[in-house]
């Protein structure tokens, strides 16, 4: 009688185990979602420049300000590559890509150099909205440079809102010039 009971119990346990295993094949009980897009084919040539941070979703956190302390500003070096934006937009337009590439090339050539991106707006938005919009414009180009393989921790952003117009005029031609990101190359102070 005792033996019967034990066999019964074992059979039941086996059935449960099997059922459980069978179930697992179809519908996992616990799923852990890993953030980021799926890893691409390693043979895919277009992904060769991609750094791990590009697979992270959302914006890239800022680099600590101390990393830029005491660096010498060179606003002339990249003055020709100012990136311009459409009205009330922080989307980097295709027409601006060659300028961004030129900035990326300059940073690739000199690994000790860093970059300050200054985001600016035309005068039409409200003041604090524009201060945020200027920052979004600077961050958008930082993100584009990161996609191009530049370490975003080498890049610092600042927004001047509408406080530093390139053209003080009040017409569309002035506004188009003022909706911009200026680039300032940063060099380590000599001797450091």
């Amino acid at each position: 009688m005792k033996m019967m009971k034990l066999t019964y119990l074992l059979a039941f346990a086996l059935a449960v185990t099997l059922a459980d295993t069978g179930c697992k094949n179809h519908r996992p009980v616990k799923v852990t979602q890993i953030p980021g897009s799926p890893t691409g084919n390693p043979n895919d040539q277009t992904d060769l420049n991609t750094k791990p941070y590009n697979n992270q979703p959302g914006p890239i956190a800022a680099a600590p300000l101390e990393e830029f302390e005491g660096m010498a500003k060179d606003p002339a070096a990249l003055a020709a590559y100012t990136v311009h934006f459409a009205y009330d937009s922080s989307v980097v337009r295709k027409s601006e890509r060659s300028n961004i590439q030129a900035v990326a090339d300059a940073l690739s050539r000199d690994s000790s150099a860093k970059l300050l991106i200054e985001g600016n707006c035309d005068e039409r938005g409200t003041e604090e909205y524009n201060r945020a919009l200027g920052e979004r414009r600077a961050l958008a180009v930082r993100q584009a440079l990161a996609k191009g393989g530049i370490d975003p921790m080498r890049i610092r952003t600042i927004s001047y809102g509408k406080d530093k117009p390139a053209d003080p005029g009040h017409d569309e031609s002035a506004w188009a010039k003022n909706r911009r990101d200026d680039f300032v190359l940063l060099h380590p102070k000599s001797g450091s």
Binding site: G58, P59, I60, A61, A62, A63, P64, L65, E123, G125, T126, E127, E128, Y129, R131, A132, L133, E135, R136, L139, R156, T157, I158, S159, Y160, G161, D163, K164, P165, P168, H170
Partner: protein, 393 residues
């Protein structure tokens, strides 16, 4: 500085005491039907002004005009205001309909200008049973053509202005600590837009938020213990909150286009401008964190720069079409009212008047608006472009 201490010692207790005691009119056999004030659509109260001249007359006219009074002769006025300026201001208000003197008072000390402001506040109190704004202060930004500027503090009418910074750098977004002589503002002094706390009594200041990227748009909680602000340290401009001294920093929003936070007077909510489903909207989020709720502004597109009225009833904001308009929407939901052309409204402590900026000739001037009658007047200009006003409350 003496003036501010005076303001703190004398005015604030009066403001709070008067706010706590809601005066009730004596019960008469006669039923007096009083017009319920409608935002943007109320008639001014006609008064006459006799016996004053020069600065005192100018002060009284501006103070009363921007609080919903209009000027007429003694025969058609509802209230007759009269007095003298023999060394000091003496004034009287007669209710012509009730045929009674409702105010008779003389003022000494300080300046004629301050005496006139005190008389204006007494007139408003006697006629409307509400606190006036004539002895309140504002903070704002004064910018030169270089883009650099300073933070100023002045009487609400722009007089007695003092520069509280001397940094010759870009400054922005002053915000008062409620009931205290202290403000927060943004300064680029250290080469980055950082948020400073500045004690006006001692002149001492320190950085409260100096993170990488943007630190701006500080807004102080009604009890002064917390600060909401815009930071971009995590890669996009968002609403963050911290203690008054900058500690215990927390991120409240994660949308990509946030700006201009302000507090509900009960300290429960933070209202701000953002973008949802590709549309610029106003939204609010619990100050302790949580779900974001939209504040609809039908018919007033592209809202930015919200400011919640101290009585909790209204949210003033800037709507952008081809131009900018000052609008007011019921905080609990409803249709917004478009008031006048302008930007960046800030409520007076009595929730009746707004100070805002107006563009003229490529610069900003400050203007004061009575939201009920829509009577509006520019205040005294400092220099350059005066903007981002914040009313002390």
């Amino acid at each position: 500085m003496k003036n501010y201490q005076r303001f703190l010692k004398i005015c604030l207790p009066i403001v709070f005491a008067a706010a706590a005691i809601h005066p009730v009119r004596g019960q008469n056999e006669l039923t007096i039907t009083r017009e319920v004030p409608v935002i943007g659509n109320s008639k001014p109260i006609p008064v006459s002004l006799e016996g004053f001249s020069g600065e005192v007359a100018d002060v009284l006219k501006l103070d009363l005009y921007v609080q919903g009074f209009s000027f007429t002769n003694a025969d058609t006025a509802q209230y007759q205001i009269s007095g003298t300026i023999a060394g000091s201001v003496q004034g009287r208000v007669v209710d012509r309909f009730a045929k009674s003197t409702i105010l008779s008072h003389s003022y000494t000390g300080a300046s004629l200008r301050r005496q006139a402001h005190a008389f204006a506040d007494d007139i408003v109190q006697a006629i409307t049973h509400k606190n006036g704004i004539a002895q309140t202060q504002i903070a704002f930004k004064v910018q030169s053509s270089t883009g650099n500027g300073e933070i100023f503090v002045a009487d609400f009418d722009g007089h007695n202005a003092q520069s509280i910074t001397h940094d010759n750098t870009i400054v922005a977004a002053p915000a008062w600590v409620p009931g205290r002589l202290a403000i927060y503002y943004t300064s680029y002094k250290r080469g980055n837009p950082d948020i400073f706390y500045h004690n006006l009594s001692t002149g001492q200041r320190h950085v409260v938020a100096g993170y990488s990227g943007l630190n701006t748009s500080a807004a102080v909680s009604p009890d002064g213990s917390k600060v909401a602000m815009i930071l971009s340290k995590s890669g996009s401009p968002n609403v963050w909150i911290c203690n008054a001294d900058g500690t215990d920093l927390k991120r409240l929003t994660s949308s990509s286009e946030d700006s201009s936070p302000c507090w509900s007077p009960d300290g429960q909510w933070i209202c701000f401008a953002t973008k949802i489903a590709d549309r610029r909207v106003l939204a609010k989020v619990p100050a302790g964190g949580g779900e974001l709720q939209r504040i609809p502004t039908p018919g007033a597109p592209n809202p930015t720069e919200p400011d919640w009225s101290p009585d909790g009833k209204w949210i003033a904001f800037t709507s952008q079409t081809s131009e900018f308009d000052i609008c007011v929407v019921p905080a609990g939901g409803g249709d917004p009212t478009v008031l006048v052309a302008g930007e960046d409204p800030s409520w007076s402590p009595n929730s009746r008047t707004l100070i805002f900026t107006r563009r003229t000739g490529g610069r900003y001037v400050l203007s004061v608006l009575d939201v009920f009658t829509k009577q509006v007047k520019d205040i005294a200009r400092i220099s350059g472009s005066d903007s981002q006003p914040a009313w002390a409350r």
